[in-house]
Subunit: 464 residues, 2 copies
């Protein structure tokens, strides 16, 4: 790419064509000036990337129950205290406490010797016996296939869920959801039929050797078995080995352990509303991450964007009419205890939630928002603001459910939203050790923070 000033000048095709008088532009929306200030301030002076560096370097692996999550709770209180807010406080939350323990090992036992397969135990996985386990493997593409195979085909074996995410969709979260049953419920179904362990293909499009963990659920009264995600390269290697020799065996060692619930905290900072202090606009992200990752996109990005929203209001000298509350939730990844606790307290506390928006889809270029409401089409009402956002690359207000952490508020009738960044790269890093700061572009991160702030300001001043 190169500059084309000559060509543009010759043709008068630049943004300002001099050869013919332009029609008068439409009168600008008076709100545009403020919306633009949010974006230019964030792009020129945004602090989110610097804070994300600090958070991910000091507190990687912020899983519930970990010292890293406790450190991040303290860190975020300090950052909020430095923003000149009206109130900073925490809510006590009791969270699940599962630990991976010593590194897991998954090995393919081939004729040529044992080959390591890159793997990560799933959250909630059981441990193997101390010496590990070795068994034959049955590869399946669906949970229904396990049901069909039944105990005769499953018992005593390792079930290998290997259905890929569908690449042919535009929005990667759809592919993630469609393949997610394998990780979420596959091990439980395999256990029901006597499987000794489960392996799942990582929920990613990245053809590399990073395994992507995530939570798996077992029935309260059902058996728990060891379960791990394989990297895409490892999954393909195992599938090739099984195709060549269906009797191929795999050995697994997992040292995971569940502990009693641990104390944690939601961290909250507020700018009190000048006109409606009891009406709350919430912006949030979640402090916790998986244990094996710095959690830069998931959800360090959402945390620092929520903090940046407050900073932007302060930097622009804007006092919100309604109380602007930043909520950094705990335990989104394996329990949602933070969001559940927040919503429970909200029901009994004074004050009413007018709007709650979260960022938990990565720090990529923002393209729009999804909005959800039990009382009508919030996304259609928000659509009047599209002309204000389009100059900054955000072009759609879609119907949705906001996100996991604002979900409990939606169930209480609050209008919710979630930032929708470009989704193409999100699952390349999601729940993997590769979710690092260097995969976050500061401009993209700061555009997202500005978009959140601008939407909040519009809701605050114009209503939704």
């Amino acid at each position: 790419m190169r500059l084309l000033p000559l060509c543009c000048a010759l043709l008068g095709l630049g943004p300002v064509a001099r050869s013919q008088p332009a029609p008068p532009p439409p009168a600008p929306d008076p709100a545009a000036a403020t919306v633009n200030r949010f974006f230019t301030e964030a792009l020129a002076h945004g602090q989110a990337q610097a804070q994300l560096r600090d958070l991910t370097r000091r507190y990687p692996g912020r899983l519930s129950g970990s010292p890293a999550l406790a450190g991040a709770v303290g860190w975020s209180q300090q950052v909020l205290a430095g923003l000149g807010l009206d109130r900073v406080y925490t809510q006590d939350v009791s969270v699940r406490h599962w630990e991976r323990g010593a590194p897991e090992s998954v090995q393919l036992l081939a004729a040529a010797g044992a080959q390591p397969l890159a793997a990560a135990a799933l959250g909630n996985s059981a441990a193997t016996a101390p010496g590990g386990l070795t068994a034959g493997v049955i590869e399946v593409q669906s949970l229904a296939q396990v049901e069909q195979l039944g105990r005769a085909g499953i018992a005593g074996r390792i079930v290998f869920f290997n259905r890929p995410m569908n690449p042919a969709v535009a929005r990667t979260p759809e592919a993630y959801s469609a393949a997610g049953d394998q990780r979420n419920r596959g091990p439980a179904v395999a256990a029901k039929y006597g499987a000794v362990a489960a392996l799942t293909r990582s929920l990613t499009f990245a053809r590399d050797d990073w395994p992507h963990t995530g939570n798996t659920a077992f029935l309260p009264a059902g058996p728990k078995i060891p379960a791990a995600a394989l990297s895409l390269l490892a999954a393909d290697r195992l599938a090739r080995a099984l195709a060549a020799d269906p009797a191929t065996r795999v050995s697994i060692q997992i040292h995971a352990q569940s502990y009693p619930d641990a104390p944690s905290h939601n961290v909250i900072g507020e700018l009190r509303g000048t006109e409606f202090p009891d009406e709350i606009i919430l912006v949030g992200g979640h402090l916790d991450s998986w244990d094996l990752t710095p959690g830069a996109h998931d959800d360090g990005a959402g945390v620092v964007q929520a903090l940046e929203v407050l900073r932007l209001f302060r930097a622009l000298g804007l006092r919100p009419r309604h109380t602007l509350r930043c909520v950094l939730f705990t335990n989104e990844e394996n329990g949602l205890a933070g969001a559940t606790r927040y919503a429970t307290l909200a029901r009994t506390a004074g004050g009413r939630h007018l709007f709650a928006v979260e960022s938990d889809s990565g720090g990529f270029s923002p393209t729009g928002f999804n909005l959800g409401s039990t009382q009508g089409n919030a996304h259609e009402r928000a659509d009047r603001w599209r002309p204000l956002f389009e100059p900054w690359g955000l072009w759609h207000f879609a119907r949705g459910t906001g996100g996991a952490d604002v979900g409990p508020l939606l169930l209480q009738g609050v209008t919710v939203a979630g930032l929708t960044p470009d989704s193409q790269r999100y699952f390349d890093y999601h729940h993997a050790a590769s979710d690092t700061l260097d995969q976050v572009n500061p401009r993209e991160l700061h555009l997202g923070a500005a978009a959140l702030a601008a939407l909040i300001w519009l809701v605050d001043t114009q209503g939704l």
Copy 2:
């Protein structure tokens, strides 16, 4: 981020709400099915990323006159020959031949000793004398400032152009253009007043130590001086040193040399039109890159996307009504001789160009197109296709001039276009050694190729 199936199901807020009958959807545009096939085929089976890996590994540094560019010419002929086209051929083009020679050296001479500054000679730079040069430095923010300082302030010194790109704009090419005069013409203006050399702040937002090269122009009869770009970290270091001690000196060694023009080639492949074989729809990118970089985004991405467009038509069994011509231009970076030659030959050859679209803004998620025409508002006419593209994330048809390689055709009255990908990261890698394959996401690259193919198919079947 996590799945929210329960929450969605409870509220009936998913894409399929079961509790109330949905209104009948609007009748789909019959063209949508074919547009969607381009995207799903590219996402599921795209070859562009594999080809880009091959191109950038085998032929990095494809500058005009280099063996790497000659290799890329041969490589692309082979790829085209494998696509089952009606015709593959080349056009002879005489191109500028400038070489960097041995690695340049720029050193800050501080009291504590010499400190290396990461630098890259600009294309067209003169060499220093064999032993290098050492001089004082005058930092400026604009070309006008050099004119004001005049010979008294400039002669015998190194002029350091240090005006940053404006971070507060949404579209990074605008910031690039606004700061580009420093690199494009700064050294020539400095030379006019007797500067012994010029240093320019790299045209990037990336705060790292990669220098970003690019062409600089000297007046045909004017003096040529050594000129190099500094990385952002190096530029800031130099600025700090000058602030502390305006007498700070810098030594520069550049070994660049200009040679007589070299032979090169545009590479062309065609699918002949079934109804209008003499009417041409062109899709293009440029084969050459700067010498110090694999040129993955600039413009390996455009090359493999143009090749993928042909593959997509073949894979979908679609024969274009007009001749579909893939043109891989040579010498875009420092001369535009390939595009100029192509347009000159097009004027005298049989056939008429109906439309010419290029990709030369990186292999990032496509957001839309810019269109240019001397005969009206092509972008407004194309706007009727927005509903076909929005499901795939492309949402705007803007007024523009296509791009550098189709520019000469625009001057002949051809309607042109350029793919507009997300621009936030482009200048992080542009013209730098960091423009590597691992910065290209295959899904983003393939979405761009599909978008090009879909637009071409719409122009072919419906007219623009």
